[in-house]
């Protein structure tokens, strides 16, 4: 076997052939996926033949077993994933050579164990069958054919020569030290070449392109003011922000807890806004005004105007904010989102100024040395325009695009496709043969980060090594490897990415380098001593720790290298708060009833479109709209009425210089009046089978002047409708339903203010902790064994599993949903099935708009199987397929289920999911084809599946199991380790593991000292629907406690003291 080259013991297995040939010893595990289906077949066969023998299965042991490899035991490896230039530290579980699950790396400063939806779902990207294979070349006659790497490099030798004149590189922003090194090498070799960076989303706080990241530490802030920044949403730092924010609202502490306060001023609706104690919806232009108003109130005198421009309502809100800021001083922080202002610097300037004025530790700004000089053309839009014009004029003859999808995502006015056609030699390195690749001369298959060596930096500069877990499945190569070949890097050519990364590592660590250091970095996932955080202590302090001698411009607080051109060109508008062309007057009343503000934002599911072919993400419900598979124009009811629209109706949007684009309308309460929100990332045409043709492309309306938002857009109803694949409520339009929802919310979600909580920790709700039926003597708390099998077994082997969900901490980000999906082999079902109401997520995050849908105040509530002690689902099953374990888990035995679906009917929480089709087999398009005409479950789909969890066939009910496979593993491990008790926290459910705020806690209720027991004992804990139905749920919620400011309290009209 060719893969049996001597392997470094410490390395993860990364030979794909091991898998391709036959995953050693895992035949048994693989076969688990044929599964239940065989059951059906065998019944038929048994009837026919009567004496059928077993189907023959083969076991393929290793010829030589690598050290440290125990067949059948999962292993975790640390790696990192870069998004928006920021690395997330990850821990990837590999099972017999197949990576199957991604979690956050506990030692990584950004993740601390948690991972966002994108990082977790990227495991599916690895196995995406639509990924391109190898190299594709466009022939002179316009046809395209499969080529090879060698052919490409042969060709490239003749192109990447000379002084580099006419050669341009367009790369995704990255701070990967190795890539930076290769880039320097490239530019040294081809000195006249130019290098550009482009990312359709300038990550809000992460101006990586300029070598710095603004990453405020929210954990110490008592007051957080977000000016349009979606801290907890698709932000690459969301995991960190969520964690820090939740740290500031720990009610479970013994000292009675503490509580920070979050103000959000925004124009669309984000989950950050949903988490806010106070939220103000304003038009995007007003965000700058609000910032100016705050700054002015804190003493900034340099502003031309702005103070007078806020409305009375805004003033009322802002005055409270200002008072709170002043009162808390350095314990407060203001975060701005540069996308939301027309030209972002002004908001940057203002937020910086305010934070310094407050002596806020906002200065958790990290400086990274990208090591690149100013002339590197790093930058953002201005340089992209430059590139486009250079391409159009023919100055650029060779364009190497490293990642990204500029044809799809560049601003419409740059006419990038047109410019690209003028370029003689075009090369695109990408995971998919996408829109850009199809226009390029060469498409190079990019290796997934789980297949290639690399490194990356996170917000504070910490470097992580990206180590592969599997050999490239589709003959892909990383950017580093391609550059190594192009630059004739001998070491890189011979040793591949690994050699380059080790070389970089050596230079990073310097004298301290040792083999042990390297292994440690691999094992821990972070390179020690690479952190570069800078903290500002005062408004005018200058700190530059970084050894790269970065200059910090005192007057502006910050100026990043490379940004000079960009900033100087906008110097004039820095202080003026309004963008040219924006209607200056009449804030409330629209100048023209059909002219609206568009706000562009990355989609919560597919981000900027790069994840469009990821089924998990397509089917991940947007936390606000609860919409899957597509995007829509978000607007509030008033705006819709103004246009003449209703929910689900198509609206046509037209701006100057852009085509008319149609979107379905989605009514989102809480959007600012006159604002239409457009999630980007949809309308892909060459994403793959999953992502093609899903949603509408909002990039078509985006121009380089208006990246974040644009005013003066005309909207008109087209008269057509389009069903939105939402997973909740399917938009209740009848009054009976709306009234009922409003009436029920206070019972479903217990809420209260911090003041109320301090006064009465039960928040006015009757405490109704049910007496467990598993405890015959609940008073003394001793667990009583009801097990009929082993009545004499010791107490520590008896558990009462339970869970607590703290709604105060939950931001609604939905990371748990994807974690659960990955862990439990949950299939995707496709848009049509979602429209029918058949999505399979075991865990859903319900979103309720608090008072009907008017104010737009919303709450999120994760709902999964409650494991009710008196589970209504069990008694109705005629097959005994769902029963209760002696430890209190509501068990679902798939192989006993024949699918009456009665349990689902009788489940008041509707958490049971039914396999209406064989969702794992074939493609989503042929679900309605008879089984015999369908493809079986594909090899790639199988490879991702968790071998510890049955893949369910059609006709079978399924639901949350409390990750029973993790419980059983822990139990067996504890037994193996001298029969010790299972430690509290040892078992983490997948959702709990990834929750950045720690809102989900799982454990043993028999142990009075376990975290979950203590949380259950809190007075604010309640069982959903428990008082009404006496279901005695094992999963209990902790009431949501908000912390409204004294001056604004009356605007929160919640009636939590219901009778």
């Amino acid at each position: 076997m060719s893969s049996m080259k001597p392997t470094d013991d410490s390395l993860p297995p990364h030979d794909a052939s091991e898998l391709g040939a036959d995953p050693a010893t895992s035949a048994a595990e693989q076969s688990r996926r044929h599964f239940l289906k065989l059951m059906g077949a065998s019944l038929g066969l048994a009837g026919m033949t009567g004496c059928i023998r077993m189907p023959e299965e083969k076991l393929m042991p290793y010829a030589r077993r690598p050290n440290n490899r125990t067949p059948g035991a999962p292993v975790s490896y640390a790696t990192a994933m870069e998004r928006g230039g920021i690395a997330q530290g990850l821990l990837v579980t590999s099972y017999d050579g197949r990576p199957i699950k991604i979690e956050g790396n506990p030692s990584h400063p950004l993740n601390r164990g948690a991972a966002d939806v994108f990082a977790q779902a990227s495991i599916l990207e690895l196995y995406d069958p639509d990924r391109s294979r190898g190299v594709i070349h466009r022939n002179p006659d316009g046809t395209r054919s499969q080529s090879s790497w060698e052919e490409f490099f042969r060709w490239a030798k003749g192109v990447f020569t000379g002084d580099g004149r006419g050669i341009a590189v367009l790369s995704e922003p990255s701070l990967s030290p190795s890539l930076v090194e290769m880039r320097k090498r490239f530019q040294k070799l081809l000195p006249k070449s130019v290098w550009f960076d482009y990312d359709p989303h300038v990550p809000e706080e992460c101006q990586t392109l300029w070598g710095w990241v603004s990453a405020p530490d929210l954990s110490r802030a008592k007051v957080v003011v977000s000016l349009g920044s979606d801290l907890f949403g698709s932000n690459p730092l969301a995991v960190k922000y969520s964690r820090e924010f939740a740290a500031g609202r720990q009610l479970s502490r013994a000292d009675g807890g503490q509580m920070n306060r979050l103000y959000v001023i925004e124009s669309t609706y984000t989950i950050t806004g949903a988490c806010a104690d106070h939220r103000l919806a304003v038009r995007p232009s007003d965000i700058g005004k609000c910032a100016a108003y705050i700054a002015a109130a804190l003493g900034e005198t340099n502003l031309t105007d702005g103070k007078s421009e806020v409305t009375a309502e805004q003033k009322r809100f802002l005055d409270v904010v200002i008072a709170d800021l002043k009162a808390n001083g350095s314990q407060s922080i203001v975060v701005g989102d540069r996308r939301q202002s027309v030209l972002f610097e002004n908001l940057d300037y203002l937020t910086d100024w305010i934070n310094k004025q407050l002596k806020s530790p906002s200065g958790n700004l990290s400086y990274h040395s990208s090591g690149l000089a100013d002339k590197d053309n790093s930058g953002h839009l201005p340089v992209l325009s430059t590139l486009a014009s250079q391409m159009a004029s023919g100055e650029v003859q060779t364009l190497l695009i490293l990642g990204g999808n500029p044809i799809y995502s560049t601003p419409a006015n740059l006419k990038f496709a047109e410019s690209l056609s003028k370029v003689k030699n075009t090369i695109h390195l990408a995971l998919h043969d996408d829109e850009t690749s199809q226009l390029c001369q060469w498409h190079l298959s990019k290796a997934h980060y789980l297949e290639s060596w690399g490194d990356a930096r996170t917000f504070d500069g910490t470097v992580s090594i990206v180590q592969p877990l599997i050999e490239p499945l589709f003959d892909g190569r990383s950017a580093i490897e391609v550059l190594a070949r192009l630059t004739d890097d001998k070491e890189g050519i011979d040793g591949g990415g690994l050699a380059v990364v080790r070389r970089t590592f050596k230079s990073l660590v310097g004298d301290k380098y040792s083999e042990w250091q390297w292994k440690k970095a691999l094992a821990e996932g972070v390179v020690e001593g690479t952190q570069q955080t800078v903290t500002f202590v005062g408004p005018n302090a200058v700190v530059a720790i970084d050894d790269s001698k970065q200059q910090v411009d005192n007057s502006r607080g910050l100026t990043a290298p490379g940004a000079s051109q960009a900033t100087s060109s906008t110097e004039e508008t820095n202080r003026g708060l309004l963008a040219p062309g924006y209607p200056q007057k009449g804030n409330g009343a629209l100048p023209n009833s059909k002219a609206f503000d568009l706000v562009f934002f990355p989609d919560a599911k597919v981000y900027d479109g790069r994840f469009a072919n990821n089924g998990w993400l397509q089917e991940f419900p947007d936390p606000i709209t609860r919409m899957t598979w597509g995007n829509a124009a978000w607007m509030n009811e008033k705006t819709a009425e103004n246009i003449g629209l209703k929910h689900n109706e198509m609206v046509s949007l037209k701006a100057q210089d852009t085509p008319e684009v149609e979107f379905p309308t989605c009514i989102v309460p809480g959007m600012a009046d006159g604002v239409i929100g457009l999630p980007l990332g949809y309308g892909r045409t060459a994403a793959g089978a999953i992502g093609n043709g899903v949603g509408q492309n909002a990039y078509l309306l985006r121009t380089s002047e208006y990246l974040g938002w644009r005013p003066g857009v005309a909207a008109r109803p087209t008269g057509k409708t389009c069903a939105l694949a939402t997973v909740q409520e399917h938009h209740v339009i009848d009054k009976v339903g709306q009234r009922a929802i409003a009436q029920r919310i206070p019972e479903l979600i217990h809420e209260g203010t911090f003041a109320e909580y301090q006064h009465d920790p039960s928040l006015g709700h009757e405490k109704s902790y049910p007496v467990s039926i598993f405890q015959e003597h609940p008073l003394d708390g001793t667990p009583v064994n009801r097990d009929p099998v082993a009545p004499n077994a010791p107490a520590h082997t008896f558990h009462r599993w339970g869970m607590a969900v703290d709604l105060t901490a939950c931001t609604g980000c939905g990371a748990c949903v994807v974690a659960c999906q990955a862990e439990n082999n949950i299939p995707i079902v496709g848009r049509e099935q979602v429209l029918l109401g058949r999505e399979m997520h075991w865990l859903r995050v319900d979103r309720y708009f608090r008072d009907g849908e008017r104010s737009g105040e919303s709450v999120h509530q994760p709902v999964f199987c409650m494991h009710c002690e008196t589970a209504p689902c069990e008694q109705v099953c005629p097959f005994s397929a769902t029963t209760h374990s002696t430890e209190g888990i509501n068990m679902m035995t798939y192989n006993r289920c024949a699918g009456t679906r009665y349990c689902s009917n009788n489940c008041p929480y509707k958490v049971r999911r039914f396999n209406y089709f064989d969702y794992n087999a074939g493609t989503l398009k042929d679900l309605y084809m008879p089984n015999l005409m369908r493809q079986p479950i594909s090899e790639l789909v199988r490879m991702q599946k968790n071998p510890d969890v049955t893949v369910r066939m059609r006709g079978v009910m399924e639901k949350c199991t409390y990750c029973i496979q993790r419980i059983e593993q822990a139990r067996i491990a504890a037994k193996r380790e001298a029969d010790r008790p299972i430690r509290d926290g040892e078992i983490q459910t997948a959702c709990q593991q990834t929750c950045p705020t720690g809102a989900i806690v799982f454990g043993d209720l028999n142990d009075p000292n376990s975290r979950v027991s203590k949380l259950h004992a809190q007075q604010r804990s309640y069982g959903l629907l428990n008082p009404e139905l006496n279901t005695k749920p094992r999963t209990r919620y902790l009431a949501k406690v908000r912390n409204p400011a004294p001056g604004l309290e009356e605007t929160n009209k919640t009636d939590k003291h219901h009778t």
């Binding site: 076997m1 599964f35 076991l59 393929m60 042991p61 010829a63 030589r64 077993r65 082993a790 049955t950």
Partner: protein, 224 residues
């Protein structure tokens, strides 16, 4: 006018009633036979003995040479899966012992070329059954309890039915199947005073308590 012919049943048809009665009696007989067939060892695949690519003899290695199970099935105490030996384990001895035997050809080839040996799986559980070897071996369930007298098997066959009702028998009352942990791989172990059922029962009880055996019959113990 001719009246239509008068049809009658011949006299023997009166026996039809008796026949019907007997026919009805066959229903319980049939059901009984059906159950017997279902519980039959052949139906349960007991004795399934596929031909293996390498004529490896457990009878020689275990029975005669007295090798411990764990020498080859190395992971049995650590993981759910009792790994089959990789070829280099075979070659630990067979580099010197019978290296050129024809019976060793495939093993030699595997060792040289690095290709795995395609063993046929004998103990095939349904795919939705999650059996964990380590959970059993570490609480004193002997190999022999499920795999039968492997030390006498020239070619391994399935000795026990491995169906759910059979699993449940032990899970409901594991005592008779327990042995001291250090005797798990001992194929010839007999409890002291094996002829005394009382002593065996006492030992089982003692071991169950010592090892905190809790053979659960919850569905999730095996099905997830």
């Amino acid at each position: 006018m001719d009246a239509p012919r008068l049809w009658t049943f011949p006299k023997w048809t009166n026996l039809a009633g008796v026949g019907l009665l007997l026919g009805l009696l066959t229903v319980p007989v049939y059901l009984g036979l059906l159950l017997a067939y279902g519980a039959n060892a052949t139906t349960l695949n007991v004795g399934y003995q596929p031909k293996q690519p390498v004529p490896y003899s457990h009878a020689v290695h275990v029975g005669k040479l007295g090798m411990d199970c764990r020498y080859c099935h190395t992971t049995v105490e650590q993981t759910g899966f009792a790994a089959l030996p990789s070829t280099d384990i075979c070659m630990n001895c067979h580099k010197t012992i019978l290296p050129d035997s024809a019976r060793m050809a495939l093993v030699q080839q595997s060792y040289v070329e690095g290709t795995p040996i395609p063993w046929k799986k004998v103990h095939l559980m349904a795919d939705y059954v999650y059996f964990n070897h380590s959970a059993h071996v570490n609480v004193g369930v002997g190999c022999i309890e499920c795999h039968g007298p492997v030390e006498q098997m020239e070619t391994v066959y399935m000795a026990k039915p491995l169906n759910m009702a059979w699993c449940l028998e032990c899970h409901r009352d594991p005592k008779p199947y327990l042995r001291p942990r250090d005797q798990v791989t001992n194929m010839n172990w007999t409890p002291q005073g094996a002829d005394n059922p009382r002593a065996r029962a006492d030992l089982g009880k003692k071991l169950e308590e010592n090892y905190h055996v809790r053979a659960s019959t919850d569905c999730v113990t095996c099905h997830r």
